[in-house]
Amino acid sequence: MRIDCKHVWQHISAYIDGEVDAELRAEIDKHLETCEICSAVLDSTRNVVVLVADDRVFELPAGFSDRLHARLEKELELAGPS
């Protein structure tokens, strides 16, 4: 049975994460060979996932780590963990 575009979209996230079974993957791959819309949807979704994962997108505020460890240092002096 040939799967349609909507069916492919439902599984795009799982497909990107490699979480679809071999049979479904083969069907999606076959669909992608001939469907330029689904190929573009897949490529653009994957592109978004790759971009947001870059460390430059979400950076800790400047000095965050220093302030955290300075506060911890005080706490460590005050009390033990038991």
Binding site: S13, S39, N47, A53, P61, L72, E75
Partner: protein, 210 residues
């Protein structure tokens, strides 16, 4: 992000509890980013998230003896962070999205992606342009909280489905569904605006198209 190292963590915890308190700095360091960004996702305020992150680290330290080792250390730390964040929202009386979020999970909703017929990849180098990072952050910040939390842990902190589920106190199935919806929403929101960041294509004779 730094991958967790259970052996290092177990050894560290043992030595900290035996009195080498200073080792706690090394133990908590790999968790700093996910702690902060999870709290940022819950509290949506930098100052508040930073303060809550510090409180979380202190609570982790004070409760270290209660860590059983049956969960990953980072998962345990993130559940403490989540409780800290939610506690602050409750205290401030601003647990605004609770009921909406619960409903959102059951809805089928419209998660149709933006339809396009071709895609030119936006390379990571494009992130040198600050407006691209700002655009991505804004899109993620605009997601409903339940989707934002999952995207942050799964796609930004690159945690696996199991750990994300444990840290957020939801099922693995819910992680997958929310991640799918979040990615579809992001694709729809960002795709039309990302095109401007793709490199220009070379024309037939190597010229750049206008």
């Amino acid at each position: 992000m730094t991958a967790p190292n259970p052996q290092f963590e177990a050894e560290c915890i043992r030595r900290i509890l035996a009195g080498e308190r200073h080792l706690f700095h090394d133990l908590i360091r790999p968790c700093e980013r996910p702690i902060y960004f999870l709290l940022m996702s819950i509290l949506r305020n930098e100052t508040e998230a930073e303060d809550a992150a510090q409180e979380t680290a202190i609570k982790v330290y004070l409760n270290l003896k209660n860590f059983r080792g049956d969960a990953q250390f980072r998962t345990w730390v993130l559940s403490i962070a989540r409780n800290e964040g939610l506690g602050r929202l409750r205290k401030a009386g601003t647990r605004r999205e609770d009921s909406l979020d619960a409903e959102a999970d059951d809805q089928t909703g419209d998660y149709t992606p933006a339809i396009l017929t071709s895609w030119r990849e936006v390379p990571l180098e494009a992130l040198e342009r600050q407006e691209l990072g700002a655009m991505l952050r804004k899109a993620i910040e605009g997601l409903p909280e339940i989707y934002r939390n999952v995207v942050l842990l799964r796609d930004i902190e690159e945690m696996d489905v199991r750990e994300t589920a444990a840290a957020l106190g939801i099922t693995e199935g819910a992680v997958k569904v929310r991640l799918h919806r979040a990615r579809a929403l992001l694709q729809r929101e960002l795709t039309p605006r990302l095109e401007g960041f793709a490199p220009r294509q070379k024309g037939l004779f190597g010229w750049f198209k206008a």
